[in-house]
């Protein structure tokens, strides 16, 4: 289950092609791409700096992918997350899941993103007209994660 943390941009199409290459059992790919916005909490945002905890980040992502594999019958899962300085419209994260059928792929992809949001040690600092500010964690992310305890979908 590949997990990568990198400064460079990624090509989602090429990543997905690699992930499902030569596996005729795969009938579905679900993918999510997170993108840097130019507005947050009502203010215009310029540069976004992403910090992480090298070593723990990779372990946390691998653990989340392993949990997804335990919960759903999926073929493979890929997470690519960027760090460093990003601009609005830049890609931040790619999660792609392959499986025989769409249900498992959709559910596992959303599960991985919801857990990444609350468990993987990344922190965003955004630049606004008023200066740089650390992005606050959202309760909605905790709620999104909590619902996976109640249902497997």
């Amino acid at each position: 289950m590949p997990v990568r943390v990198q400064r460079e941009d990624f090509d989602a199409s090429a990543e997905i092609a690699r992930l499902r290459a030569a596996d005729p059992k795969i009938g579905a790919v679900a993918a999510f791409i997170g993108i840097a916005r130019d507005v947050n909490d009502g203010e215009t945002v310029g540069m976004l700096a992403l910090e992480h905890y090298p070593g723990m980040t990779e372990k946390a992502l691998e653990r989340i992918c392993a949990q997804a594999r335990e919960r759903w019958k999926i073929a493979d899962v890929l997470v690519v997350h960027r760090v460093g300085e990003l601009q609005p419209t830049d890609q931040i994260v790619l999660v792609a899941v392959t499986s025989s059928h769409r249900g498992e792929a959709f559910a596992a992809c959303e599960f991985v993103m919801d857990y990444l949001k609350t468990e993987a040690p990344f922190w965003k600092k955004e630049t606004t007209a008023g200066g740089a500010r650390w992005v606050d964690a959202r309760d909605s992310d905790d709620n999104a994660r909590a619902r996976w305890k109640e249902t497997t979908r």
């Binding site: 723990m56 990444l116 993987a120 922190w123």
Partner: protein
């Protein structure tokens, strides 16, 4: 007991420190006790740990709870809630 303590994001900036190696007394055995011991050192730890909400901890690069025990040579990290994705 000797531990390495790492700080990230807002907490790292508030402390102006990303890493320190500390010899803690024998009665400091858990995450909560280490945190209390750091705060008891005074500024800037007391303000930073007081003002930044919901600080989480990891031991040896795995999320830890308040009662998770420390060990000789542990890598302990303190950080604000994560905001990736």
């Amino acid at each position: 007991m000797r531990v390495t303590v790492l700080y990230f994001a807002r907490l790292r900036e508030a402390l102006q420190c990303e890493r320190e190696v500390i010899d803690v007394p024998a009665d400091v055995r858990t995450v909560t006790q280490l945190r209390a011991w750091l705060v008891a050192r005074g500024e800037p730890w007391s303000s930073a740990f007081g003002e930044i909400k919901r600080i989480r901890a990891a031991i040896d690069q795995a999320m830890a709870q308040d009662t998770t025990p420390l060990h000789e040579g542990a890598e302990v990290a303190f950080f604000p809630p994560v905001t990736g994705g």
